[in-house]
Amino acid sequence: MKLITAIIKPHKLDDVKAALQEAGVSGMTVSEARGFGRQRGHTETYRGAEYTIDFVPKVRLEIVIDDAQAQAVSEALVRAAQTDKIGDGKVWVTPVESITRIRTGEVGPDAL
């Protein structure tokens, strides 16, 4: 099993969700995040005064999926989240040792 983590632009969330559902993903965790890559923060000007934002708002998605689907899901995610502009984000995949469904105690792929 794999954990797919993605950092994407907030306004792409709906598109990505739809694409993931089509790719057969049944659950995910979404959280709001702030960060920067090469984009860094930016400065806003309001009435002549400058205000610096160090971090750019992003959305983090976490999906646990079985090995066979990981590649396809990853690719679907990348396609859906792309805007070709800087700040599109990143997707990475890490292995999962074990997973349990809390309500029933099922482990492994049954818990996905």
Partner: protein, 823 residues
């Protein structure tokens, strides 16, 4: 015993108070015989405490018992004979065995223990012993009255932090306005002496007799819900979880969860308010008679005085709405409670003739002042609400009263949320410590800060009405404000702010803020900078007043970005300018409203002001064609060449080059890229060498098509031309060096590169070729020729679609200047 209990719990006909009584009877019926059987000759008595004594047991309640005794060897065995059967039957028993002296001593040393013994009922054994306990405990309570007042009042205040009425998942026992508050009042009554419980409070004037039915009904309601809750969940938890609310509502009240929420909210608010008032008065009494006599009436406003630490009316004050409002303002400003008696006399009679304030003569300003007090105004407004005054002042408030918002997002009922929003906006205006610096600065710049609190109060007033609550609310808000005497400018702003109060948050979190069209749409809807500033602050206040899930630094950053970008568009006059709107309307006349709006929303902001409606209609047709097309027309002695094609780097350069190759002198040009990636380029050219006159426009169009299909090497053609043709025009002035300016402030979405140079053949091609070679995308171009001088402004973006970084800016400047100086 276990079975009997189970039967009771399962008997759905026994709800609320009936269940409590039946359960108590069951226990009595079991314990009395147990006691008789096990008792020896020594004096002893079994008494019940707490909810068992009050006969208010719920399925999950603990059973509290006290074995009173006078010492003796048989007592431990007696105790075991009582406790063990209960434990074996699965009851949770709070148990103790004490002599009378011990019991009183423990109660004397600990307020909690004392309180726990205030509800006591004889179950079995020596009645004289039980009565003695009751007497001694109550005497103790009277002795400790002062400390009890303080302890109870403090606990009640803490409960008010989690009001049942405000919570999505309230606790019916410990929540503000719930069972604990009722019990607390009754205990206080015992500390005041006979008759005890609520009766004593009424006699002493801390609670009004009219309030008793309300309190009793609330108690019955809470018990009914609590019993049903324990039945449904099978636990002793008093938290009314969202997932259980439907079942509980059906069992307890034969209705749905929404109705139950509303009933609970209404009852709890009444209890919380009555209790708060009672504790206030009790505390005031504790301060002692000396404190009261020494203070005289302090005049706070016309007809309003402060007396005994409460705000009340002077003897000669008129009994009308205006006075009520002034009373409220004085209470909020001076942070004193409102006198209930006084408020009751100010409540409107049935025939409300002459009661309503004359809003234009100061009452309107009073309302704004009241709101401006922020959080301090909330309890005062609650008081007005209970007396029926608030609703008479603002009838529009009716359908938001206690209206629950039962989803995970909202914490408060609608009316409470509106008041919270007012409090949050006042914190923004006053620059509280928790306010962001940016927000504070925006608040400081408001030209009419009072409009912010008014918008905060009214922004959700449309909830509960059919249709979209923003639209309905906007209409209602304007009506209300007009009645309050607001001027037209204020009415306009309030209307737009309420109508669009969700706009910034919606767009910021769901749309690409890097797209100018997104921002332009917002700016257009809001209309002007002052309204946008109001809307931004309201968005912040509204979100903070909604609940913890609704606002965090990520959302704040997004909303702020949208606000600043939209503000820039409005301040630069690029949006909302009169001319743009006129043209839009004209275009709508030609192609229909929907098509016109969709088209203009998809084009860059600057497009709308640059062409006539006829021209825009023609562009629309060309663009909708979807493929490369070239169209020609004539205007004022110039040829107008319009090209549409899928945008790509170098397109502008290619077309400019072809025109140049055909001897056409570009006087003016504009390039705009539509949101779907189709580029529109319009060139106004002068047919210097008469090519078009002789051969028509087809050769030019063919070459343009070829160039865009990469079948024509424009660069080679231009180089060839430069070798064979000398400049065609005489200079009227000495040559001026070319200049290149890079402006990062003119737009939030692109870097502006401006070139000033002497006009010459192929200049435009050269410049745009340099930009294309540097990998820059020309998003918008404005080319104009004034005499011999050309001023070309290009809005460019780098390969990743954003403004140029510093290294790129330097490269552009350097390369362009180099190229222009060489020629």
């Amino acid at each position: 015993m276990r079975d009997a209990r189970a039967r009771l719990v399962a008997d759905s006909a026994l709800g609320g108070p009936a269940f409590g009584a039946a359960y108590a009877a069951l226990l009595d019926g079991v314990l009395a015989p147990l006691f008789e059987r096990a008792a020896g000759e020594e004096a002893a008595a079994l008494v019940s405490l707490g909810s068992y004594a009050r006969e208010e047991l719920c399925p999950g309640s603990d059973v509290d018992l006290l074995l009173l005794h006078g010492g003796g060897r048989t007592i431990p065995a007696l105790a075991d004979a009582l406790w063990y059967p209960l434990w074996d039957a699965g009851f949770v028993v709070g148990h103790s065995a004490r002599t009378l002296k011990e019991a009183v001593a423990v109660a004397d040393g600990d307020l909690h223990v004392l309180t726990s013994m205030l509800d006591v009922r004889h179950v079995a054994g020596d009645e004289a012993l039980s009565s003695a306990l009751v007497e001694r405990i109550r005497g103790l309570a009277e002795k400790r009255r002062g400390r009890l007042v303080e302890a109870f009042a403090t606990a009640a205040a803490a409960r008010r932090e989690a009001l049942i009425a405000d919570l999505l998942e309230p606790n019916v026992k410990d929540g503000g306005g719930g069972l604990r508050d009722l019990q607390s009042l009754a205990w206080m009554g015992w500390a005041l002496g006979p008759p005890g419980a609520l009766g004593s409070l009424v006699e002493a004037g801390y609670v009004r007799s009219e309030d008793l039915p309300t309190l009793d009904a609330a108690r019955d309601l809470f018990l009914t819900v609590r019993v049903a809750l324990h039945r449904v969940t099978g636990t002793k938890s008093d938290d009314l979880r969202l997932q259980d609310q439907d079942a509980v509502a059906a069992v307890a009240l034969r209705t749905d969860a929404d109705d139950m929420a509303r009933e609970l909210a209404g009852a709890a608010r009444a209890v919380a308010w009555i209790a708060a008032d009672a504790w206030n008065r009790l505390r005031a009494t504790q301060r002692g008679p000396l404190g009261r006599i020494a203070r005289r009436d302090r005049v706070l406003a016309r007809g309003i005085v402060a007396r005994d630490g409460r705000v009340t009316i002077a003897a000669d004050a008129a009994h009308d709405g205006a006075t009520a409002l002034r009373l409220a303002v004085a209470a909020a400003v001076h942070d004193l409670p409102v006198d209930r008696q006084a408020l009751a006399t100010l409540a409107p009679p049935d025939a409300a003739d002459g009661w309503a304030p004359d809003w234009s003569s100061g009452a309107g300003a009073d309302l704004v002042t009241l709101l401006r007090q922020g959080r301090r105004a909330i309890p005062v407004i609650e008081s007005l609400e209970h007396a029926g005054v608030w609703l008479s002042l603002l009838p529009e408030w009716e359908h938001v009263r206690s209206r629950p918002q039962r989803n995970a997002y909202h914490r408060f009922t609608v009316d409470r949320h509106l008041l919270e929003a007012v409090a949050e906006s006042v914190e923004l205006l006053d620059g509280a410590d928790t306010t962001e610096v940016f927000d504070r600065d925006v608040a400081r710049h408001l030209d009419r800060p009072e409009l912010l609190v008014v918008c905060a109060l009214l922004h959700d007033i449309g909830k509960g009405l059919p249709g979209d609550h923003s639209e309905a609310g906007a209409e209602m808000a304007v009506g209300l404000c007009r009645r309050l005497g607001f001027d037209d400018e204020a009415l306009g702003r309030v209307e737009r702010v309420v109508r669009h109060h969700l706009l910034l948050a919606d767009v910021a979190t769901r749309r690409d803020l890097g797209e100018e069209a997104t921002v332009a749409r917002v700016a257009r809807l809001v209309g002007d900078a002052p309204t946008l500033e109001l809307l931004y602050l309201l968005t912040v206040a509204d979100s903070q007043a909604t609940g913890p899930a609704a606002w965090n630094s990520v959302k704040a950053a997004l909303v702020r970005e949208l606000f600043v970008k939209a503000l820039h568009l409005l301040e630069r006059g690029e949006v909302g300018a009169g001319l743009g709107e006129e043209r839009r309307a004209e275009l709508a006349g030609r192609v229909g409203e929907e098509r016109a709006t969709a088209f203009l929303d998809a084009m860059p902001v600057a497009y709308g002001a640059g062409f006539s409606a006829d021209e825009m209609a023609a562009h629309l047709e060309l663009l909708d064609g979807g493929s490369t097309a070239v169209a020609w027309s004539q205007d004022l002695g110039q040829q107008v060449c319009t090209v549409v094609a899928p945008d790509r780097p170098g397109m502008f350069a290619s077309v400019a080059g072809v025109l140049s190759l055909h001897g056409l002198n570009v006087q003016q040009a504009a390039a705009h890229t539509r949101a779907d990636g189709m580029a529109l380029e319009v060139f106004r050219v002068v047919d210097d060498v008469g090519r078009i006159e002789r051969r028509g426009t087809d050769p030019v169009s063919d070459d343009i098509q070829a160039a865009l299909a990469d079948d024509l090497d424009v660069g080679a053609g231009m180089a060839e031309r430069a070798r064979h043709y000398a400049p065609a025009r005489r200079r009227t002035a000495p040559p001026t060096p070319p200049r290149v300016y890079v402006d990062q402030e003119a737009s939030d979405f692109a870097t502006v590169v401006e070139v000033h140079a002497d006009d010459r053949v192929g200049l435009l091609f050269q410049i745009t070729r340099v930009l294309a070679d540097l990998g820059l995308d020309v998003h918008l171009a404005k080319v104009s020729t004034i005499g011999d001088r050309v001023v070309d402004a290009f809005y460019v973006r780098d390969a990743s679609g954003g403004k140029l970084g510093e290294p790129d800016v330097e490269r552009v400047r350097h390369t362009l200047l180099g190229r222009l100086q060489r020629a």
